[in-house]
């Protein structure tokens, strides 16, 4: 089976995100007064084969832990969708 993992990596809440702060300020300048906070992160799409969704989930978690995120400073989350051809 083929799965598509959509992975989001963002800085942990405890880590200052200067890009996010700059974007938030720019939005405020543009009149979007309702903006309270912005965090800038990364989005990755990983296509993988796995026997089932549970196996795919386990593999993507391992990828995040070893390479896609640096868990000292970042957190990650992902969704998994089965792809049909």
């Amino acid at each position: 089976m083929t799965f598509l993992a959509r992975v989001h990596v963002t800085l942990k809440a405890s880590v200052f995100d200067p890009q996010g702060a700059t974007v938030a300020r720019a939005l405020g300048t543009l009149g979007f007064d309702e903006v309270q906070d912005v965090r800038v992160g990364k989005y990755l799409e990983v296509r993988l084969s796995a026997s089932d969704a549970a196996a795919a989930r386990e593999r993507v978690s391992a990828m995040c832990e070893t390479l896609l995120a640096n868990t000292v400073i970042e957190r990650y989350e992902f969704t998994l969708a089965e792809e049909h051809h």
């Binding site: 800085l11 405890s14 880590v15 200052f16 200067p18 890009q19 700059t22 990364k42 390479l67 896609l68 640096n70 000292v72 400073i73």
Partner: protein, 226 residues
């Protein structure tokens, strides 16, 4: 004393490091390609500045998996010295030979300057030739040099005298506790954002970096001839 300077695709301070070692110490320094599986026969390893693997994903993230890094890890675990400069510091945190991480500068600018640092410990093979508390001037050139560690790690670094350099005056990147360089608990792996290899002659604007290399040589001689 024989030095290995690791070269990744995108390293750009490798030749500077070789030159600095040769000129300051008159000791052999060789470039070692990232595909090499060994650093056997080298007494010290330098991971130079640059943009290893283009800093793809994160600075140092891909370099971590280069074949040579297994050899560097073994070299470090055997107690032999490893010095990571700038991008090399980022690589050393990614491979977890040093705690913490380097974040984007808090002002988001690439900062190229000569900064003032204070030597916070001389109890390392990299800094024994400095005076405790000595203020030195070294160049910096980075966009991701803001040292970060969680509270427990930071406390640990302080308690075990692992903070080697702090910025004096303006902090150029927003690093925690003004940290510019740290050493591991075993004191044989050091990472620093400033570039000592670019400050080994008065004509370069400073020669304050030379003592890092002389310290390494003296520590090695003491260990060899002790």
């Amino acid at each position: 004393m024989k030095f290995a300077v690791i070269v990744f695709p995108g390293s750009n301070c490798d030749e500077d490091a070789v030159r600095a070692i040769q000129q300051v110490l008159d000791e052999p320094a060789e470039l070692v390609w990232h595909q090499s599986g060994s650093v056997d026969g080298y007494d010290a390893v330098i991971i130079p500045g640059g943009f290893a693997y283009g800093d793809y994903l994160r600075a140092g993230a891909i370099a971590r998996f280069a074949p040579v890094m297994s050899a560097v890890r073994a070299h470090a675990q055997a107690g032999r010295p490893v010095l990571g400069i700038c991008n090399g510091f980022q690589v050393l945190t990614e491979v977890a030979l040093l705690p913490g991480a380097l974040l984007a500068n808090n002002h988001l600018q690439f900062r190229c300057d000569i900064v003032k640092l204070r030597v916070e410990t001389t109890r390392t093979p990299f800094t024994a030739d400095y005076q405790m508390g000595q203020e030195i001037r070294l160049p910096i050139a980075h966009a991701q040099g803001s040292y970060y560690a969680d509270d427990a790690t930071l406390q640990d670094l302080r308690e075990h005298d692992q903070i080697v350099f702090r910025y004096v005056g303006e902090n150029p990147n927003g690093s925690l506790d003004n940290i510019a360089g740290i050493v591991n608990r075993q004191r044989n792996v050091m990472g620093m954002m400033p570039h000592p290899e670019r400050a080994v002659h008065p004509r370069l604007g400073s020669s304050d970096g030379a003592a890092i290399f002389t310290s390494l040589l003296h520590a090695w001689k003491e260990a060899v001839y002790a």
